[in-house]
Symmetry: C2
Subunit: 347 residues, 2 copies
């Protein structure tokens, strides 16, 4: 269950929401340059991208997306464009980081290698069946606490590593509007397995995952009517994070949160976004009880099948509440078709 | 749900397992001296206790214990003697710290006030229904992450605060024997609500709790045949922590883990203890699935009744596995009788 992940097993997927990515890529150069990069240009973006030289990358634009997905009901604009990268990647692991984030820098100017930490999280087991008060037991200098059953110490495969942010935390628009100047300054030096059956909001800002296992689940399904380019104007990552956790619990796989941190620079006026975001905040009141109640049949042993099953439940139970849920179900089913086509073509 | 806990609502309960407590109490002086202390002398200890002057304390010894509990099947020797303090306390909150721990000291010599942190944990809500990736949302500078439902942001009452240890971590004997020199040097600056339905091993080394709510659950029930004076030779705290979590989940109450840390000095030869501890390690393989399966009837709304119900299940389901479980069930039932008698006398 412990393994080294080779650099050539990894794609870094970057959603380009702004044209000038010079500072972003230069900031990440020492970390990213060992890897193959997939850059997806937001199809709503007109201006040409500025990407500094020296990266092994493949750029996908609106025309690539349209050519591949045709008349698909899935929308790949804004933050959702990265999911197109998840689809076209041929690698086992994906790391995706928002283009307004930089690596964390210590007082001596050393950079925190967020990619390496994600790969460590994915290459060591998760322990969702029982909570370890000493945090990640596989970390150097740590172990399982007294009382932790030995039969559970092997853990399970970790397929999702959800990282955090210093400077600008990932708040919703109301919270950001109330606390416009609050910065997250506290570095919590821990990785935690989110326990089985506990749900959490996965932020897509800074994540790593096992594409072959979890790729079918990570689909930009829930699209707010007032979706925007600010994180707090989107819900697609929260939605597919809930799906991912439910599927992981069902399949006996693990999700970790905590390290690595990235340094996040925020922008945008939360107050102006409040009108749109209120929609997402209201929807969460329906989404959480729904996902807490989802029971998947034991016969489902592949993530693809779980997603189709969940899509059916979404249409049936959430569909009557708001039309966005029916569209989410459509997108999930369509994604599985696309995913299977790509898997077939890769063989 | 936010409240200040007054000093006179708190008892500090100390189990005295060694006679000379001079360094211990002097180390804690600035922190403990504001509070009333209950000191329970391990009934197996012969020598007189040395307690430095200047503490408002009440000392209970073997004769006090015998007078009060008579022929009770509950054994209050070793680490378990502290539970006698939980019984005789008249305060709303209890903080209990092992006598081989000292307050954490920073580079400037400032002490970490573990008691204050426990009281903060107990005086702010817990959020067991949904995991907040930004850790304790009620801490200064923190909040709920995007996607956290507003309807769950009030949280629930926190009744158990389970703290941690720097220097010597709370390992079991096999782990300590394998890593005799490993020190816990990593300070994780976080408080986490353990999610609903996730179980954890609660260590009794450094805890705070709401005695009126959770006192009935914290009973030294599981006594290993080879019980000893080293932490790794006991399981009573792990057992009642499992009970406490199940009862909290049932009653809609919260459990937190993380801060505060204490500085823990260890002693003892783990290798020599292995013979005894192996028993506890084996029992955990039965204990965890049992507690994961416990379902309490909705009609039970008081912790006392939950404990009696769990005791019955223990006798029925675990009793046939090992005689220590039958004795644990007896102790739990007896504890509830004792607890009710004391509650009655206090009125």
């Amino acid at each position: 269950m412990f393994f080294e992940i080779e650099d050539n097993e990894v794609d870094i997927v970057i959603a380009a929401l702004r044209p000038d990515l010079t500072a972003f890529f230069n900031g990440w150069r020492t970390i990213f340059s060992r890897f193959h990069l997939i850059i997806i240009k937001d199809p709503d973006l007109e201006a040409d991208l500025q990407i500094p030289p020296g990266f092994d990358h493949h750029l996908y634009t609106k025309s690539d997306i349209e050519r591949v997905i045709g008349s698909s009901p899935i929308k790949f604009s804004g933050h959702s464009c990265r999911y197109f990268g998840y689809l076209v990647s041929t690698k086992k692991y994906i790391i995706s980081i928002d283009d307004d984030c930089l690596p964390l820098q210590d007082d001596s100017g050393n950079l925190t290698d967020a990619v390496a930490q994600h790969l460590t999280n994915l290459g060591t087991p998760a322990t969702p069946s029982f909570f370890n008060t000493l945090y990640d037991p596989f970390r150097q200098g740590a172990d399982f606490v007294r009382g932790y059953p030995f039969s559970l110490r092997n853990g399970v495969q970790c397929v999702l590593s959800s990282g955090l942010w210093l400077n600008i935390a990932d708040y919703d628009a109301p919270t950001r509007a109330v606390k416009p100047h609050e910065k997250n300054t506290r570095y919590v030096d821990a990785v935690i397995t989110v326990p089985s059956r506990a749900l959490m909001p996965v932020s897509g800002i800074n994540i790593g995952f096992d594409r072959r296992v979890l790729g079918p689940v990570l689909v930009p399904a829930l699209r707010l009517k007032g979706v925007g380019k600010q994180r707090w104007e989107t819900m697609e990552d929260i939605w597919c994070g809930m799906c991912a956790k439910v599927v992981c619990d069902h399949l006996g796989l693990g999700v970790k949160t905590g390290l690595p941190y990235v340094w996040r620079n925020g922008s945008g006026n939360a107050w102006e976004s409040l009108k749109r975001e209120w929609e997402g905040v209201k929807l969460m009141e329906e989404i959480v009880p729904f996902f807490q109640s989802v029971k998947l049949p034991r016969t489902l042993t592949a993530a693809e099948d779980c997603v189709v099953q969940i899509a059916g439940l979404v249409r049936e139970q959430l569909g009557p509440v708001d039309p966005v849920f029916g569209l989410a179900a459509d997108a999930m089913e369509e994604w599985i078709k696309l995913w299977k086509t790509f898997e077939f073509e890769r063989r």
